[in-house]
């Protein structure tokens, strides 16, 4: 059952990213990425991380992608992108992809033998995660709140500039 879920979720995830590469419309691209992130949430749940799975689906597939869809709606490019005529870019990006993939496989090869079993007990219940978040990782947690406020102010200031220029 776990194998079936894993392969189904990973195949849907990879196929939706591949479709994102080949489909031209940006709104469809964003929806494909929503599908991929929802599948990744399912994979996180398979890996004993229910809290991270819910956060992935609510924040990534929900909030961030809604932001993307809103920006796509505001930009509203109806004119067609000119077809990519540069074959060289395609070939070079495929080459860099293959090289990067082989490099990743070599770099994690040691983990294939050593850690192939994995622990069996459940680790990821939200209670222990919250306890660790408010004891060992308290300072990063607080600094993250400052980062969020800075990003919010920055986004508002950046997006507001046009009105000032107009007046």
């Amino acid at each position: 059952m776990a194998y079936f879920l894993f392969f189904a979720l990973s195949i849907i995830c990879i196929l939706s990213v591949i479709f994102m590469i080949f489909v031209k419309d940006q709104a469809y691209n964003a929806l494909f990425i929503v599908l991929a992130f929802a599948c990744l949430g399912g994979l996180f749940a398979l890996l004993d991380a229910p809290f991270i799975a819910v956060v992935q689906i609510i924040i990534y597939a929900g909030a961030i992608m809604v932001l993307f869809v809103f920006v796509i709606m505001m930009i509203n490019l109806r004119k067609e992108f000119s077809p990519e005529k540069k074959k060289l870019t395609l070939i070079l990006s495929l080459v860099i992809g293959v090289v990067l993939f082989i490099e990743f496989l070599f770099s994690v090869k040691g983990a294939f033998q050593q850690l192939s079993s994995g622990s069996t007990e459940s680790i990821g219940n939200p209670t222990s995660l919250g306890k660790l978040l408010f004891t060992k990782y308290l300072y990063p947690f607080e600094i993250t709140s400052v980062l969020i406020i800075a990003a919010m102010v920055g986004a508002i200031v950046l997006a507001k500039k046009k009105d000032k220029d107009k007046e």
């Binding site: 990425i33 930009i75 992108f81 983990a111 986004a155 950046l158």
Partner: protein, 100 residues
């Protein structure tokens, strides 16, 4: 029990697909989406190793990564909107002011 190596290969594949999408696509929004795919591939590795080592610290790192990604998406999309208002285009080939 799914072995760890399956997750590592899946994550490597996702990261590579994100890289290829970043280089092939020409508009800023889709390139930004490709960067999000790469971030998620990194998250998958963190959670897979957290499961394999039996510790929960990896999940907390992923929690922070998702928070930072939300902040990054807000600022990045604001910058893309600003670029579109200035140049009426979001093609990355048009951003060539600093070309030497």
């Amino acid at each position: 029990m799914i072995p760890l190596s399956y997750y590592l290969v899946l994550s490597a594949l996702l990261f590579v697909l994100g890289t290829i999408a970043f280089f092939i696509k020409k508009d800023l929004i889709t390139q930004f989406l490709a960067i999000e795919v790469m971030l998620s591939a990194g998250n998958l590795v963190f959670i897979a190793f957290a499961k394999a080592m039996g510790t929960i610290d990896g999940q907390i790192i992923v929690f922070f990564i998702i928070t930072v990604a939300a902040a990054e998406a807000a600022v990045g999309l604001a910058i893309i909107l600003l670029v579109y208002r200035k140049k009426k285009s979001i093609r990355s080939e048009d951003m060539n002011i600093m070309k030497g």
